[in-house]
Amino acid sequence: MNTEIRDNLLHGIREFMGDDLLEMNVDYVHPLVRIKRDRLLDACRFLKNTLHFIYLNEIIGTDRFTSDDRFEVIYHLISLRNRQRLFLKVRVEEENPVLPSVTDIWKSANWNEREVFDMFGIRFDGHPDLRRIFLPEDFKYYPLRKEFPLLGVPGSLEMPTSTPDHD
């Protein structure tokens, strides 16, 4: 891991984001950068086009379980040219959890955003096909939210009522 390249990148981000950069740390080798929600698309385009983060590895959702800005969405980006990873964070509030979709920037965001939607109920504006990915559409809960019980909600999923032998 080349720390000089990393510091240059972080400097670039700091300059571009200005006051909209809320938090930045490199405690565990990989930089974590938190920015204001309104600048998300802006920052993503900058990271892809200028800093060469062309590979979106995954999108992580988290439930912070706090009263303000409850959810956090983390974009895990890789720059193959500079051999760097970057974690870009934005926070979303509980009442209306909506984020702009980055599928136009990275095509691979498609399923990852669907997964975050499935697990946390965060909607992505402009997503071409926002359906649940693991659970059926008929399921009304978001299982990775902290209030969802570990054992599930009884009766929330339709189960087969008969065996194939008796119709």
């Binding site: 891991m1 405690d27 565990y28 080798v29 990989h30 974590l32 062309i54 590979y55 979106l56 590895n57 995954e58 992580i60 959702g61 988290t62 439930d63 983390i74 895990h76 193959l80 051999r83 990873r85 974690f87 990275w106 095509k107 691979s108 498609n110 399923w111 997964e115 697990m119 096909d129 359906r131 649940r132 990915i133 693991f134 659970l135 059926p136 559409e137 008929d138 299982p143 990775l144 969802f148 570990l150 339709e158």
Partner: protein, 431 residues
């Protein structure tokens, strides 16, 4: 007969109605040209549902395809049939308790998953692993890679039409099962790695078995190359099938050998060396064609590289040494201590009850190169023994997402070969 044609294409399952409706709708509304009735008197357009219980989909993958004759005009994947909520379970278990669950993710290479989790926890909790343990992990990870690629080889060639190959690769896999049985005490779900080291050292028998396997395996591999590389049927079946370029490959986020077959040498072992891979001398096999044949070559060469890595490990490995960190706050004490000393018993109890506690508010990511691609764990800690959030970056998920794009414009008969070539494991993808 023709009256039923429209019924065939339009008949929709009734179970989980909303889900099915949304899925079919998503298939229909992209291309306005898809029409299923009067305008198509020969009924060449149809929707084909494949899976979730189809032997060639390697698990419970469901593929919905919009066909024009034999060409796939659009396809949608329905995943989640093996969704067990592993991430939710992780939040309610200690890190060590969660480790056996990772066996069940990519169940074709359980050892890699164990190591991936342990390394991620060790990184966030700042635990140093003894050298010998690291070598043991590396050797077993490479064995797991061979084992996974062997299954891929057998099933992929079975999908392409040659049945006996499956038996030959499984004969070799059986030897690996025996090795894991000797090393870990389990044949399949090994759970051998521990946070801070491994459970037990190699026995002399285990070491001898691995050495024997490593000696004999390259011969087998050569034999397979001989059969397949210039086999007309095999090459014709795979050449140019499921091709994808490197730009598209990155855009749709392919992982592992599938990405390397497009020409991107992205391998975590060299991109961001973990364990002691930076001291090893090995190649990252790549191809530029991006088709199924290229994936075949990449994986075959990777197996040869794995053999060479194991040999190097045996050379460099210290002959003796601890296999688990000797710190009761960071790892389980040895059974000798537990049975014969009071402190050992207390520490064992504490490790089981609370376990390793990374600092509060810490967040870290660690990835390894699993056989199928990058397998990473993103852990957020709140200072207790349970992770606050543990996100799994699974390679099969990324590859399956690519499958939707890869299948566009392919022949319907090639679907099974392409799925076989991408080598998805649903336990990994569905979490």
């Amino acid at each position: 007969m023709f009256q039923t044609n429209s019924n065939i294409s339009r008949k929709k399952p009734t179970y989980f109605r909303e889900h099915q409706e949304a899925l079919y709708k998503s298939l229909e509304d992209k291309h306005a040209t898809v029409e299923l009735d009067e305008s198509d008197p020969l009924a060449t357009r149809m929707t084909l549902n494949m899976g979730p219980q189809h032997p060639a989909t390697h698990g419970v993958l469901r593929v919905l395809m919009e066909l024009d004759g034999e060409v796939i005009t659009k396809c949608r994947l329905d995943t989640g049939y093996l969704h067990r909520g592993i991430e939710k379970m992780a939040e309610n278990k200690t890190y060590q308790e969660f480790m056996p669950y990772t066996d069940r993710m990519d169940y074709l290479s359980p050892y890699s998953n164990n190591v991936a989790l342990c390394l991620a926890v060790e990184k966030i909790a700042n635990i140093e692993v003894p050298e010998r343990a690291t070598y043991i992990r590396m050797i077993c990870c490479e064995l797991a890679r061979i084992s996974s690629h062997l299954l891929w080889l057998g099933t992929m060639i079975m999908d392409a039409g040659a049945l006996s190959f499956f038996l030959w690769t499984f004969r070799e896999r059986e030897k690996l099962y025996d090795i894991f049985d000797e090393v870990a005490g389990h044949r399949f779900t090994v759970s051998h790695s521990r946070i801070g080291g491994v459970n037990n050292d190699f026995t002399p028998v285990a070491e001898e078995k691995i050495r024997k396997f490593v000696r004999e395996f390259p011969d087998e591999l050569r034999g397979w190359h001989k059969i397949l590389d210039r086999n007309r049927i095999f090459v014709d079946r795979n050449n140019g099938v499921g091709a994808i370029g490197h730009e598209e490959g990155i855009a749709i986020g392919l992982a592992g050998p599938s990405l390397r077959a497009t020409g991107i040498a992205y391998d975590i072992r060299t991109f961001e060396p973990y364990m002691l891979y930076d001291q090893m001398d090995f190649m990252v096999p790549t191809r530029t064609e991006g088709d199924n044949l290229a994936r075949y070559y990449c994986r075959m060469e990777e197996m040869a590289e794995s053999v060479s890595i194991i040999e190097q490990c045996f050379e460099k490995m210290p002959k003796k040494g601890p296999i688990r960190v000797d710190d009761a706050k960071k790892s389980y004490p040895s059974k000798d201590e537990v049975y014969y000393s009071m402190e050992g018993l207390i520490h064992d109890f504490m490790m089981t009850d609370t376990g390793v506690c990374p600092p509060a508010g810490a967040e870290s990511y660690h990835a390894i190169e699993a056989p199928k691609g990058e397998l990473g764990f993103y852990i957020q800690s709140d200072g207790t023994g349970h992770p606050w959030r543990l996100k799994i970056k699974s390679p099969s998920f990324s590859n399956l997402q690519g499958l939707e794009t890869i299948l566009d414009g392919e022949m319907v008969a090639d679907t099974v070969v392409v799925i076989g070539g991408l080598d998805p494991v649903m336990g990994d993808s569905d979490k």
